[in-house]
Subunit: 311 residues, 2 copies
Amino acid sequence: MSLTVVGSIAFDAVTTPFGSRERMLGGSAVHFSLASSFFTDVRVVGPVGDDFGPEEHAVLRARGVITDDIEHVPGGETFFWRGHYDYDLNTAHTDETRLNVFGDFSPKLSQDSRECDVLFLANIQPDLQREVREQCEGARFVALDSMNLWIETARDALLRTIETVDCVMLNDAEIRQLTRKPNLVQAARELRALGPRVVVAKQGEYGAALLTDEGFFGLPAFPLETVLDPTGAGDSFAGGFIGFLAAHGTDELDHETLCRAMAYGTAIASFNVEEFGTERVRRLTRDEIAARVSELHRITHFVDAPVSLRA
Amino acid sequence: MSLTVVGSIAFDAVTTPFGSRERMLGGSAVHFSLASSFFTDVRVVGPVGDDFGPEEHAVLRARGVITDDIEHVPGGETFFWRGHYDYDLNTAHTDETRLNVFGDFSPKLSQDSRECDVLFLANIQPDLQREVREQCEGARFVALDSMNLWIETARDALLRTIETVDCVMLNDAEIRQLTRKPNLVQAARELRALGPRVVVAKQGEYGAALLTDEGFFGLPAFPLETVLDPTGAGDSFAGGFIGFLAAHGTDELDHETLCRAMAYGTAIASFNVEEFGTERVRRLTRDEIAARVSELHRITHFVDAPVSLRA
């Protein structure tokens, strides 16, 4: 099934304890579309400026991402983010944000993008997310991401948008902040009561959890000895998760399919953080993904056999 | 195989957002021994004062814990801890600590306790842990816990003690603090290079990870809608984990056995936090444990079947 993602396209300047890059391709829609390109046709919608050239287009096209709806704003500059991480790689510290063309972004979807079966609303202003969602009337499965900024400044708008989607993907701290409930199980149920069937709690280096009416599924992150740059991990996870669902049917979306999708999201996110920006995922192969999912299966499996316990 | 635990026996005063108790049975050796009592004979070694009476003994004896080596210090008072938790139940805030008889604790092990097959050194001063370890020459498997206080004030002593044990069980933040390595995989390898074969990283509400030379195993915590009091969760986890190993052979300690032990530790810890102190575990049944382990298996399992990915 066809997949459309709407979000940011960016240049990132990132410093971590393990190195730095002054200007690299990034943005939620970029990380998401590269990850989901392993599963289905992906159309990416987002604005860029004059500084976004053939080299950047080529990264996406090399993975078969359809870039027709990347909107070039003449005279503008592409969204720029500068940040750093200390040894606690779970926390990004923002040093500079230049919204540039992203500041006036009003998503314009082509007929093809609007006719998607699956839609991912990456982290943009919640009212814009809802406008896009309304343009994609035929979408059978719609997921969204958001961030603390919108929870703090546009909470009601975000809640209204959540009412219109099938799946919410947030960091677990954001889920607690949004619902004002410290218990994740209760918080996820409250979100589902608004409409979405599926809640995914991203937990950074600890993994991710899936919470639906059918139950819970928890998966640790893939253990890595080398983590160079966590930027884009959440969007790569979302791309693998949503991409898998788009490829394997969202109509009879059963619990088993959702759990398998979690594994693919986890696997691709783990590659993402091994190098800076898109450097690892752009040369990732399907065999590497399959091998990592199998490894993830192995390292989370235990034998549940009867044992003799004392009364 | 027989199991000895050396650690604190305490009265705790605990306040959480969900209630409070002014004086309840607690301490690392208590939580550990109740949890491990489902698997094997457990001897508990630790000091108490005149205020530790038949009622407290009865809680342990009801679960078959052998209390002969609980040392009664005449005229003394039992270790007392007062603390509270806010909505972030991962962080305990200490309001008052009265070491009382625990301040002068010098573990005295009976012949039976010294002849244990498996020894757990709960969180006490590292030099005392090493003295106990040396008294139990015949122990085939020795594990220890510790805390940030000892890492900060007795790091060298702790490292020397770690050299003498088979298994280190610490919070993941403590493992990083002790090794001064931010990456858990690298940090655990450094600990294993000191001697222990097995490193268990406790991750609070996110679960736990096992790191050995044979590989990694990660397990989320059991998702709970009701968490009243996390006090003792880590010791209950350790009791389930070490108890399982004591019951299922520590000589040919294979990876599968260690992974199964992780599941039992996780299950019992999840019961511990559902109520205050030992209130839930003291009436826990073996059927409830077995059912929760099976449920844990179900909610961490995904199907790893071939999928068609795009090149």
